[in-house]
Subunit: 502 residues, 2 copies
C-alpha cells in the first residue's frame, strides 16, 4: 500500500475497516483508520485522497460522514488541501513509531529518586499481627461513621466541592482545637491549625517553607521512617541524634555539625523505642533549639493511647508555642485510609502555611472533614479513643501473655505504658536477622529495629505492633515468636512445628 | 509564693484550684496545677511538698488521688523523692516560659519557601463567573454520587481503611484504563496506572523520581501555574518555551540551554491559550524529547470537553508510550474537592512510581475510589461528561453573546473548540491592568494572562472561565466586561453603572 496507493486500493482497504455494525461511529472509524495509516507511514506524504463524493458512494456512507472525518484529519494536520486539487496526505516529521519502551534496566532515576526507591524495599502489604502503626480496624464504629458521612455529604455546601484555601473546614478546626487544648494541653486557636491529607503532607509543607536543600535536620535515631523519607526527599541532610531512656539526647549529637533548621521528636512516646521525654529533657531541648534558631517538629502520632496515666501534655504547650510545630494524624486514632492530618503552627507561620498548602497540595474532602468535626464535637471521638485504649490494653496483655515463656527466660519488652506496639530487645543483629528469616518462612512479617536506623544500628530488637490484630491471632503469633526466640536463645535448632497459619 | 513556699501556703493555694465540682478529675486538677507552678518557677527547685496524708486531709480528697497526681509529676521529672524525706520540686533547666512568639516580620522562610509564598498572592476564594478551571458544581449529580458513596462505604473491605501500596484500587484502575483507551486513545494496561490525590501529587512524584534539584524542565509559556509551582518547589530550573498557534514550539526555546529532564505540555488544549497541537508538531516534540533524553509530561486536564470534534487523541497514544507520562485529574470532570488524579506511566516506571507513592504520600480513600470505579464502569461518567459538554457549550455561547458588543468592535476571543475557558486578547499590559482594577472595584475577579507567564509577558489578555457559573451570572458579568472593554477601547471614562452585583 505504501508505494501504490491508488484510489481503488485505498477504498477496498477502507471498506474492510468501516462498518455500520461496529461499536464506533462511522466518522470515528473512517478517521481513526486513516489516522493510523498516515502515522505509520502506510499512506505516504503527498498521496492524494479520493474525493468525498467518491468515497461516500464507494463505502455506502453519507457524504457528511466523510466530510466530518476529513475535517478532523485536516484539523490535526494529517492531511492538507491543495487549492482546487482535493486532499493529500501531509508530510510528517520522520520518526519510527511506535517506539519500543526501554527495558527497566535502562531507566535512570534521579539521585533523590533512587534514594527514595531504596527505602521502598521495606513496604509491606501484610497487616497481620505485629504490623506496627495499624489501628484496630475491626473495632472501628463503621456504621456510625457511615451515617455521619452520609448526612454531611447530603448537607454539603456546593462550595465545599470546589478549590479551597481556608486551611481546612473551620468547623473541624474549631472542634480539633477544643480537643487538643483539653486532651493534649496544646495551646492554640483554630486559626493556627492547617488540615492536611495526612502527616506526610504536613512534613512536606514544613520542609518546603522552612528549609532549603542541603540544610540539616536532627532526627531521633532510631526514628520514624515516614519522617526520614520526607526529609530526605526534600534534599535535607538528616543528622541522626541517639535516643536514650529519656528520648532524643542532644548532648549525644555527633559534633561538629552545622546548626539544624529543624529538630524532629516524638516526645510523648518515642517511635519506636516507646520512652517518654521528661520535662527537664524537654526544657533542655527547647533551649537547644532556641540556641540553634531551629524549629522543633513535635510528632504526636499515638499519644492518645496511654495506659498508666492520662496522656502526657504536649511539648508545644510547654514551649509557649514559640518554636514548636505540632503535627498530628487521624491515621492512628481513626484509620489510615482517611488521609487526614494536621499542623498546629506558631501564630506567625499560620497564614503562610495555609496559603502554601492550598497552592502546593490543594485542599479537599470537606464533607468528610465536616463529618469528623461532628464526630469530635459530639464526644464520639473521645469515646472511641477510650474504647480503643481499653481494647489495646487487652491486646497488649494478650501479646505479653503469649510471650511469657520467653520473658521468663530473659526476653526484655519495653514498658508498654503507651501506644500501639512493644519493643522486644534482642542480643544482637545476628539474632534479629535470624528471627526475621524464621518468621518469613512461617508466614509472619516482623519489623526489625535495625530498619528504624539511618546509621549503624546500636541496638537489636523487634517492633511488635499489637493494636491491629484480634487477640486469637496475637496469641498464636506471640506463642510462635516466644518459641522461636527460646530456640535461638538456648542454641537449639528451631522446631518444625513453628509453622504458623494465620 | 516563689520564695516562701510553706506547706500551709501551698495547701491554701491548692484548695482554691482543686474542686470536686470541676470538669476535670481531681487527679488532673491537682497534677496540672502543681505542674504549671513548677514550670513557671512559682514553686522553686528544692521546695519540699506536703506529705500525701497531709494533703489529702487538708484538701478533703482521697489519698489515692494525691498519690496518683504525685506519681505522674514524678514520672514526668517535675518532682523527685529523697529517700525517707518525701517529695521535692525537681531542678529544671532555666528558661523563660512561656516564650513570646516572634513577630511575623522575624520569621525567616527558606529560599524555596519564599518563592512558593510569592506565588500564593494570586490565590482567590472567589469562584464566581470567570474563575478558570472550576466545573459546573451546580450541575453535578450529587444525589446519584452520594448513593454510590454510601453503598461503597457500606460494602468496603476492612483492609481498604488501612495503608495500601497497590497504586490505587484495582477496580478503579481497570475502569479508568478502559475509559482512557476508548476515549482518549491512551495505550495502557491497568498496571501502568497510579491513582494519586490530585494532579499536584502526580507532578510531585515525577519530579521526585526523575529529576534532581537544579536540573531543567521545559514548560509552556504561558502555562499552568500548578505545574510551575510543583517544579519550582522541587528546585528545578524552569525554562519557559513559547507557545504559538500550534502549542509549545521547541524551535523557539531560548538557546543555549542545558538538556531538559522533563518537558511539560498540554497538547490537547493548551492552558491557557486553548490551541491544539497538530500531529506534525507532536512528532517534532517527541523527536526533540528523544534527542534530549527527556520525559514528556502530558497534562490532559480538560480535553473531555471538546465541542467541534470528538476529543483529540492523546500524545501518549501517538508516542507508543515510550517517553510520555500521562497525567489526568478528576478535578475538572467531577469536582476539585474529590482530590483524585492519576498517572499513566511507561511500563518500566510503573512499579517504582507505585512504591514511591505509597512511601512518600500514602494511599487512601479506597471506598471513594470504589464508588468512582462503578461510576465509570456503568457509563455514568461518560454520560456526565456528555451532559457537561452540552451545558458548557451553552455557557460559552452565553458568554460570547454577552460579549458581542465588544466582539463587534474588535475584541478577539480564542476559538473555544474545547475546554472550560476562553482567552480574550487585549492590546497591551496597560489595558489588562486597567480592566483588572475596574473589575476589582465592581466585585469581579478577572484572571490576567500575564499571571500565566514565568518571564516577561509577550501577550496581554484575560482568561475567562465559563464552566462554573450559571448563565444569568455569566450574562451579567459578560455584559459588564463588554462595556468596560468598550470604554477603554474607545478612550471613554468607564461609566458609573458598570458596578456589578453578582
Amino acid at each position: 500500500m505504501r508505494r501504490a496507493a491508488s484510489s481503488e486500493w485505498l477504498i477496498d482497504a477502507l471498506a474492510l475497516r468501516v462498518s455500520a455494525s461496529g461499536d464506533m461511529t462511522l466518522v470515528y472509524q473512517l478517521y481513526s483508520t486513516l489516522r493510523t495509516w498516515i502515522q505509520h507511514g502506510e499512506l505516504e506524504a503527498g498521496v492524494p485522497l479520493p474525493s468525498s463524493r467518491h468515497l461516500s458512494q464507494a463505502l455506502s456512507i453519507s457524504r457528511n460522514t466523510v466530510l466530518a472525518a476529513m475535517d478532523r484529519l485536516q484539523a490535526e494536520g494529517l492531511i492538507v488541501s491543495r487549492r482546487g486539487a482535493g486532499l493529500y496526505v501531509a508530510k510528517l516529521p520522520t520518526m519510527p513509531l511506535p517506539v519500543d519502551p526501554p527495558a527497566t534496566a535502562l531507566v535512570e532515576y534521579s539521585a533523590r529518586g533512587q534514594a527514595l526507591l531504596d527505602r521502598c524495599a521495606t513496604l509491606s502489604q501484610h497487616y497481620h499481627a505485629f504490623a506496627p502503626g495499624i489501628p484496630g480496624l475491626d473495632l472501628f464504629p463503621h456504621a456510625q461513621w457511615q451515617r455521619l458521612l452520609r448526612r454531611h455529604f447530603h448537607q454539603a455546601d456546593t462550595a465545599w466541592f470546589s478549590y479551597q484555601s481556608l486551611g481546612g473546614l473551620p468547623a473541624l478546626k474549631d472542634a480539633l482545637c477544643d480537643y487538643l487544648t483539653l486532651s493534649r494541653a496544646v495551646r492554640c486557636r483554630p486559626e493556627q491549625i492547617v488540615i492536611t491529607q495526612g502527616a506526610q503532607q504536613a512534613f512536606e509543607l514544613i520542609v518546603q517553607l522552612l528549609t532549603d536543600s542541603g540544610e540539616s535536620v536532627w532526627m531521633e535515631e532510631p526514628g520514624y521512617g515516614g519522617a526520614q523519607t520526607a526529609f530526605q526527599a526534600a534534599g535535607l541532610t538528616v543528622t541522626p541524634v541517639p535516643v536514650d531512656e529519656e528520648g532524643m539526647n542532644p548532648a549525644l549529637c555527633p559534633a561538629p555539625t552545622s546548626s539544624p533548621r529543624l529538630i524532629y521528636v516524638t516526645p510523648s512516646h518515642q517511635y519506636p523505642c516507646g520512652v517518654t521525654m521528661p520535662v527537664p529533657r524537654r526544657l533542655a531541648l527547647l533551649e537547644c533549639a532556641a540556641r540553634h534558631g531551629a524549629w522543633i517538629i513535635e510528632d504526636d502520632y499515638d499519644s492518645e493511647f496511654r495506659y498508666d496515666t492520662p496522656p502526657v501534655p504536649s511539648l508545644q504547650g510547654l514551649a509557649g508555642q514559640a518554636a514548636v510545630i505540632y503535627v498530628g494524624t487521624f491515621s492512628k486514632v481513626l484509620y489510615p485510609g482517611l488521609r487526614l492530618g494536621y499542623l498546629v503552627l506558631p501564630d506567625p507561620l499560620a497564614d503562610a502555611f495555609r496559603l502554601a498548602h492550598a497552592r502546593l497540595h490543594r485542599e479537599g474532602n470537606y464533607p468528610v472533614q465536616s463529618a469528623l468535626a461532628e464526630f469530635i464535637a459530639k464526644g464520639l471521638f473521645s469515646r472511641h479513643i477510650a474504647r480503643m485504649r481499653a481494647s489495646y490494653r487487652q491486646r497488649q496483655a494478650c501479646l505479653r501473655n503469649a510471650l511469657s515463656p520467653a520473658i521468663e527466660k530473659g526476653l526484655t519488652l519495653s514498658s508498654g505504658h503507651a501506644g500501639m506496639h512493644l519493643l522486644a530487645e534482642l542480643d544482637n543483629q545476628t539474632q534479629e536477622q535470624r528471627l526475621i528469616e524464621l518468621a518469613h518462612q512461617a508466614g509472619i512479617t516482623l519489623s526489625p529495629l535495625s530498619r528504624y536506623y539511618l546509621g549503624q544500628p546500636q541496638r537489636a530488637g523487634l517492633v511488635l505492633g499489637y493494636a491491629g490484630a484480634p487477640e486469637d491471632e496475637l496469641h498464636r503469633a506471640g506463642r510462635w515468636l516466644s518459641q522461636a526466640w527460646l530456640s535461638l536463645h538456648e542454641g537449639r535448632k528451631p522446631h518444625a512445628k513453628l509453622v504458623y497459619c494465620p
